[in-house]
Amino acid sequence: MRIVVCLKQVPDTREVRIDSRTGNLIREGVPSIINPEDKNAVEEAVRLKEKHGGDITVVSMGPLQAEDVLREALAMGVDRAFLLSDKLFAGSDTSATSFTLGLAIRKLGEFDLILCGREALDGNTAQVGPQLAEYLNLAQITCVRRIEIGDGTVRVERLVEDGYELVETSLPALLTVVKDINQPRIASIDQIMESYREKEVSIWGADQLGCEAGAFGLQGSPTRIRKASVAELKARKTEYLEGPAKEVAGILVEKFNRKHLI
């Protein structure tokens, strides 16, 4: 099986704090990590390779420091890594990102399956996967929590609000995976060392992708950020209910009743 996985390096937004004095985001000390659901995608690719044989290529669009997450993927068992990095890619929205990734994947040759994490911790759009599938004219299935490869086909469990759907399509196809799909392995020290010594991360810029500069980055993005501000936490005036539990319970029931909640 030839599998391509798309990866993103993101700040761990779960660890971001807001400075209560200034109201600004505290970004110092927030680690850059592999987007968690992309890590699930890498793990799933490695499991599929262990089961069906083949090879795995990871592709990421980002600044040069994103090489770290590609090394992490190589350590987990990926075979080749490509970092798409160029000043021209800066300011890309999901449309420009999916276009850039798509151009690179086209250059990689044939593949059976593309795996993406469903959503990134920083952008939170869940759009790149589907937009990439459209660009490459592939069938897409999103929110996948279980994958089974058949004879030229893939069968998945797609998570929906009230349960799941059992869906099948022929390969090649693109799947976006959710964290429920697996628990990613932790690479051993040997594997990490090997990923730096033996394996290669190739870096491609706009020139290698062969397209006019205006199609990339901010210029190639139909959306623009007009304004961004730190989310405010609106404090509420708290009415404290005191007394023994039974009394407090009675007061709450009365309040729920008055507000037509029960």
């Binding site: 869940a126 759009q127 609000e161 799941y164 399509t169 989310a231 509420r236 708290t238 539990a245 029931v253």
Partner: protein, 327 residues
């Protein structure tokens, strides 16, 4: 807008979108059209009009009975290319988040996900698309200046639907459905409902959530009983999910679900920013925590500084008495 229906019933977010769409259309002096796709769903057309649509485009065919990306995207992009709307909206549901990016890419236009507010910059007829980003730590306003339609998916339970006006006039227009062979490449083999107790949090009007203060996985039973008598969903903080006390489908917070119920009862929840991100827009928040300094009290309407192992069963008992005493 995309009027999402499931099993022959309109999803609530479709009505919310009509409410917001009506407001935007009136500002722009434009027509509001609802795209209704499905099989044997004509009856929903009148409902869409009563909730604010001027026109309903109905694509009714057996191949549209269950949502699939290619069949739905094919019909919708065809109609958008024909009608050339300025704005196209969908709910940020499982379907919407699968469908909208496909459409936007095919039409080479901009799409903003999970908007919590929409407005109009009148002079430029620009849609102002406001949404949380960076894990909910930032609120951003996005515009699509040079491409059309301006597309956005909208977070459910944030916009308000209008009251139904059955006297409202509107047209229902049937459009042809002519799939190409490639549209049928995905097959749905089965649809399985997993009615996990109290896990459909996005739809719940009341949610009871437990955090580390619950103490042990067995003690979640106290919250389950409270949730049962309230007909509420059962939520959990990331800590207790990571500790394996309860399944991740119950997780509320930045990396879990975002909920907006009428009543949110937080038991033994400290109120970390990441948890608040998932529930801070609840209408009424009740916090029960033995630590008076817990940050959760900053966003609570009602605070109980006490032991949840006493307060929660007391509340359950009081509610049972209340319900049995009848109206």
């Amino acid at each position: 807008m995309f009027a999402e229906q499931k099993e022959g019933r309109l999803r609530r977010v479709a009505l919310e979108l009509l409410g917001k769409g009506r407001e935007l259309a009136d500002i722009l002096g434009a027509e509001l059209t609802a795209f209704l796709l499905g099989y044997r769903v004509e009856g929903l057309g009148r409902e869409l009009i009563s909730y604010g649509a001027d026109r309903v485009l109905l694509a009714d065919d057996e191949i549209l009975e269950y949502y699939r990306t290619d069949t739905y995207a094919g019909v919708i992009t065809g109609q958008i290319s024909r009608l050339k709307p300025e704005i196209f909206l969908a709910g940020a549901t499982c379907v919407g988040m699968d469908l909208a990016p496909r459409i936007a890419r095919r039409l080479d236009t901009g799409l903003t996900a999970d908007c919590t507010d929409l407005g109009i910059d009148g002079d430029a007829r620009l849609l102002l698309q406001t949404r949380p980003a960076f894990g909910g730590n930032i609120i951003a306003t996005i515009v699509t200046p040079g491409h059309r339609p301006q597309m956005a998916t909208v977070r459910p339970r944030v916009m308000k639907s209008l009251p139904a006006d059955t006297g409202r006039k509107g047209d229902i227009v049937r459009v042809p459905v002519s799939p190409v062979a490639g549209d049928m490449r995905v097959k749905i083999l089965d649809i399985v409902k997993e009615a996990r107790k109290g896990s459909n949090l996005e739809e719940a009007d009341i949610i009871v959530t437990g955090g580390r203060g619950v103490g042990a996985p067995e003690h979640f039973k106290l919250l389950e009983e409270l949730a049962a008598v309230l007909g509420a969903g059962l939520g959990a903080s990331r800590d207790v999910v990571d500790a394996g006390w309860i399944s991740s489908v119950h997780q509320v917070g930045q990396t879990g679900k975002t909920v907006r119920p009428k009543l949110y009862i937080a038991c033994g929840i400290s109120g970390a920013v990441q948890h608040l991100a998932g529930m801070r827009d609840s209408e009424i928040i009740v916090a029960i925590n033995s630590d008076p300094g817990a940050p959760i009290f900053q966003v609570a309407d009602y605070g109980v500084v006490g032991d949840l192992h006493r307060v929660v069963p007391a509340l359950t008992g009081a509610l049972i008495n209340y319900k049995s005493s009848g109206p």
